[in-house]
């Protein structure tokens, strides 16, 4: 079985600092997006059961090699990095174009795995777009995968229901965090994996150019406004219970977290 996992070397949002109303993106820490690790873990457990080869593919900065090493250490067999010429300014359409051409450059696939979203942008777009671009069916929000002959039987987590579906390969799957707990490769595995080669492609190697990608990318970002997410620490005290409770509820309604 040939499995391709798409992984993003995303901003480590927990470490992101806000300085005078703007996120400090220069030199910001990055890491492999958590849910993409779930996808790699899912690929490994499929490989362990049914055999095959796992290729991880990333569109991102050259520093993403560090992240790919970690995925190789987890158990991926090959890693491919397409160098992003735009420092993350391209939209999902352009990303998907690069990913799709890279996958077409490989010798076919049975399964493409992605995380349901990435921790930084959280657009949830790359999976479905890529499936559409490659003209294969998609199963999104998957929390368990079984292989049955040439079919994948997967359980999807939708808002109100769990849906079990059967789809023939080749296809694309996006997984949720709940599907597994990604293994932590030990240092030895990482060191050993550092010997596995990482193939680095420039976009030109895929027949693309910066201009062409910018043309495909139609989403423009006008501004990024940062705010420090400190806890608000609004403490209601010395008030009658009913009054305090009403005050609290009015705050929560404003926050839109009561589900009403």
């Amino acid at each position: 079985m040939k499995i391709v996992v798409c992984a993003k070397y995303a901003l480590d949002v927990a470490e992101l600092k806000i300085s005078s109303g703007k996120p400090v993106l220069e030199g910001a820490r990055r890491k492999v997006s958590d849910i993409d690790k779930n996808a790699v873990e899912a690929a490994i457990s499929i490989k362990e059961k049914y055999g095959g080869i796992i290729k991880v593919l990333c569109f991102g900065p050259i520093s993403a090699k560090e992240g790919l090493k970690e995925l190789l250490a987890m158990g991926a067999d090959e890693a491919y990095l397409i160098e992003d010429p735009s420092e993350g300014m391209l939209d999902t359409a352009a990303t998907v174009e690069a990913l799709a051409l890279a996958i077409q450059k490989m010798d076919g696939f049975d399964l493409i795995l992605c995380g349901e979203a990435t921790i930084d942008g959280y657009t949830s777009q790359v999976g479905p777009r890529l499936a559409e671009r490659l003209k294969v069916p998609q199963i999104t929000y998957v929390r368990s995968i079984k292989i049955d002959g040439n079919n994948v039987i997967a359980e999807r987590d939708l808002e109100d229901v769990y849906q079990t579906v059967k789809v023939p390969m080749p296809l694309l799957i996006t997984v949720t965090r709940e599907i597994n707990t990604p293994r932590i490769p030990n240092l030895m595995a990482i060191l050993k994996a550092s010997k596995k080669p990482i193939t680095i492609w420039k976009i030109e190697d895929l027949g693309l150019s910066k201009d062409k990608l910018e043309q495909i990318s139609s989403l423009h970002t006008l501004s990024l406004e940062g705010f420090t997410v400190e806890r608000k620490r609004i403490i209601i005290k010395d008030k009658p219970v009913d009054e305090a409770v009403q005050e609290l509820i009015s705050y929560l309604l404003k926050e839109k977290v009561l589900g009403v």
Binding site: E15, T181, I184, N186, L187, L191
Partner: protein, 724 residues
């Protein structure tokens, strides 16, 4: 002259012992290449010889006698026990020497070559008493007779005392056949020997002026000689019976816990040759280094074996170190995890591994048979034999995961063990195996992940590490590149709101005292204590090397820290990775400031305080006095002691990564400790470790004692009495 039956029994016994001993030695060296096995044996022999014929013999004496004695004194309220044991060992050793001197001085035995007379030595009296005469009797003979009976009585009474303790008082454990057998066989050997001597005295009607020196046998003979028994036949039979008992005793050494006679001294010798005092533990402050990351990176060879999957993965030193166990049960009694009702007894760990160790030989035989089967082409047997051979060695059943994770690495077991077994070393080795295999539950996985990704166990952002020092006057190394001291804050006091107060207090004191100090701020990372003790050796080294690089880049020389875990790691473990710093625990540093008058007290504490010894400060590094003196200097009242204090201190339950995960137990260690404090009745417990604060404060809440008892770091108390 013919060789008597008793000597033949002794010879047979010795032959069995040699074979048995050979098997045990095989178990030490099996799986090592021949060259290394050879090295192992020559190392042991060489060290034994060089010790015997050098000044190191003093270590043996110190180790065997003073060591046992001081240990007993330090760790047990009952010193007589240790004294008795020392007397027993001295008596036995001197008696053996006496036999061999004696046998050389019996004229009729001169015809035997030395290797035969060796087997006659214990029975020298058989030849001597029957032939001696008043004319030839010397003062030396008299002296021998006296010490023979005297020492025999010491030995018998010690063993009777042990049996009494086991059977009647049931001090330690369940009655165990092996224990009773070992005590009984020595008693039987000496009793039968005394009986044989008694009957010899009667049979040959030895003159009382000679016989009286064998005072016990002589006394017995005066009582028994009127019995009308065929003494001339009987005395011979009794000597043969005693020979039989000796043969059985000798033969059983490699097969029973009597083996500690051989390996115990080796172990104690090792401790004294590394020069550790009994008030600190001999294992744990510097864990073994299965590989050196720098070398691996240089050579790019990453195939290293880490941890113990099978018993054969233990090094020969580790294997030998388990063997002296005599099931005394002191480790179990001192183990906080055992007291908390966790699935861990340090003694069972050692015993289980010892039983595994014995299987190495059997496994090797099965393996050999598999080879034979292969050679004979008995296809059906090959795989089942080699499978069985491998299965025997697995440690799955012997070291349960729950047991492995129950240990807080407090070291109480190591500290109290009379033969210096490193009880928890295999647990750390097993953790290393489990980590390497990725066989961890998600909680522990997350802790490791937090430490790897965020350099702190909480998983808090790296960029939040310096939030505690907001609005404080603290400089980082970047801002003040030429400080005298670096103050190492540690994860707990960087992130935990409660423990940030320790760091704030430290800053207040250091500033008041005018100390030129800095912190690392965002460049500080976890010291790696948790990673190493949870078995992630690779990541520990990675972190340690990174920390050392930062410290060296700023040319840091002296480090102060208030966390005993950071202290131990920075001080004892970083050396092996090129980080040689002067590391000072805040208890000693602050005491010094006080003594030098650098800080002025504006008040004294009026509360009685109880001091709790943190494991990694006391038992690991021998710092017991500094915090006590410091408290004494700032208090009007005496510092009280827990029932278990100093080297016997009872762990709070936070070490070895335990502060971050839960283990099934009946009652938390911290709660047991708080109960102890409640009994003593104080309002303030002083500690010198942030983990102890976390654990003990939690226990206070559990016991509903918040507000009644306070728990403070010594720095917090000091900061209060010098004013803001």
């Amino acid at each position: 002259m013919e060789i008597e039956l008793f000597s033949i029994f002794y010879m047979i016994g010795m032959a069995i012992a040699v074979v048995g001993g050979g098997i045990r030695v095989w178990n030490w060296i099996s799986s090592f290449p021949i060259s290394e096995s050879y090295k192992v044996i020559t190392d042991i022999v060489k060290s034994a010889f060089s010790t015997f014929f050098s000044k190191k013999i003093c270590y043996i004496i110190k180790g065997l006698f003073l060591g046992i004695f001081t240990k007993a004194k330090l760790r047990s309220s009952n010193i007589s026990n240790g004294f008795f044991k020392v007397a027993f060992i001295i008596a036995y050793l001197l008696l053996i020497i006496a036999y061999h001197i004696k046998v050389e001085n019996i004229p009729q035995l001169k015809s035997f070559p030395i290797y035969i007379s060796f087997f006659i030595a214990p029975f020298a009296d058989f030849y001597f008493l029957s032939k001696t005469s008043i004319e030839s009797f010397t003062i030396a003979d008299a002296f021998f007779g006296f010490i023979h009976d005297f020492f025999a009585l010491i030995i018998i009474s010690y063993l009777l005392f042990m049996i009494y303790k086991r059977v009647i008082r049931r001090v330690h454990l369940k009655i165990n056949f092996e224990d009773i057998f070992c005590d009984a066989i020595i008693i039987l050997w000496f009793v039968s020997k005394l009986m044989a001597e008694t009957s010899t005295i009667i049979a040959f009607n030895i003159h009382s002026s000679i016989a009286k020196y064998w005072f016990f046998s002589y006394a017995l003979s005066t009582m028994l000689k009127n019995l009308n028994l065929p003494w001339l036949t009987l005395y011979h039979i009794l000597w043969n019976i005693s020979g039989l008992f000796l043969g059985v005793l000798i033969a059983s050494i490699p097969f029973t816990k009597l083996w500690h006679i051989i390996v115990g001294p080796i172990q104690i010798l090792r401790r004294y040759s590394i020069g550790e005092k009994p008030i600190v533990i001999s294992f744990g402050k510097k864990l073994s280094k299965p590989f050196d990351l720098r070398k691996l990176l240089e050579t790019e060879s990453f195939e290293v074996k880490i941890g113990i999957k099978t018993i054969k993965d233990m090094s020969w030193r580790q294997r030998i170190s388990l063997e002296p166990c005599i099931r005394c049960g002191r480790c179990q009694d001192s183990c906080p995890a055992y007291a908390a009702g966790r699935e861990l007894s340090p003694m069972e760990v050692v015993l289980n591994l010892n039983s595994s160790l014995k299987l190495i030989f059997i496994s090797d035989i099965l393996n050999f048979m598999a080879h034979v089967a292969k050679w004979l082409n008995f296809k059906n047997y090959i795989s089942s034999l080699s499978e069985k051979s491998e299965k025997l060695l697995l440690l799955n059943g012997k070291l349960k995961d729950e047991t492995v994770w129950s240990c807080t690495t407090c070291g109480a077991c190591v500290a109290i063990c009379p033969v210096d077994i490193s009880n928890f070393e295999p647990l750390i080795e097993r953790r290393r195996f489990l980590v390497t295999e990725g066989k961890l539950d998600s909680i522990k996985m997350d802790i490791l992940k937090n430490l790897i990704e965020k350099s702190n166990p909480y998983g808090m952002p790296i960029s939040d590490r310096d939030l505690w020092m907001k609005n404080l006057s603290v400089k980082t190394l970047k801002e003040n590149p030429n400080p005298e001291y670096l103050y190492w804050v540690g994860c707990s006091s960087s992130y935990d709101k409660r423990n940030q107060n320790i760091a704030k207090s430290m800053v207040n004191i250091l500033n008041k005292a005018g100390v030129n100090f800095v912190v690392l701020g965002l460049e500080e990372r976890c010291c790696g204590d948790t990673l190493r003790r949870m078995g992630d050796e690779g990541r520990f080294q990675e972190l340690a090397l990174a920390n050392i690089e930062v410290l060296k880049s700023y040319n840091v020389k002296k480090i102060i820290t208030h966390c005993p875990h950071c202290y131990n790691t920075l001080k004892n473990e970083y050396k092996e990775f090129g980080g040689d710093f002067e590391v000072i625990h805040h208890s000693e540093f602050l005491l010094n400031l006080l003594k030098m008058g650098k800080i002025k007290l504006i008040k004294v504490i009026e509360e009685e305080t109880l001091y709790h010894d943190p494991c990694y400060l006391g038992r690991y590094n021998g710092i017991y006095d500094a915090p006590r003196i410091l408290l004494q200097m700032i208090s009007n009242l005496k510092v009280k002691e827990f029932e278990k204090h100093h080297v016997n201190s009872f762990c709070c339950g936070g070490g070895g990564g335990n502060v971050w995960y839960e283990v099934p137990e009946k009652e938390k260690m911290s709660v047991l400790r708080i109960k102890e404090a409640e009994k003593i009745g104080v309002n303030l417990i002083s500690v010198a470790c942030p983990y102890c604060i976390t654990m003990l404060e939690d226990a206070l809440k559990t016991k509903g004692l918040e507000g009644k008892i306070k728990i403070k770091d010594i720095a917090e108390t000091l900061s209060e009495v010098i004013g803001e």
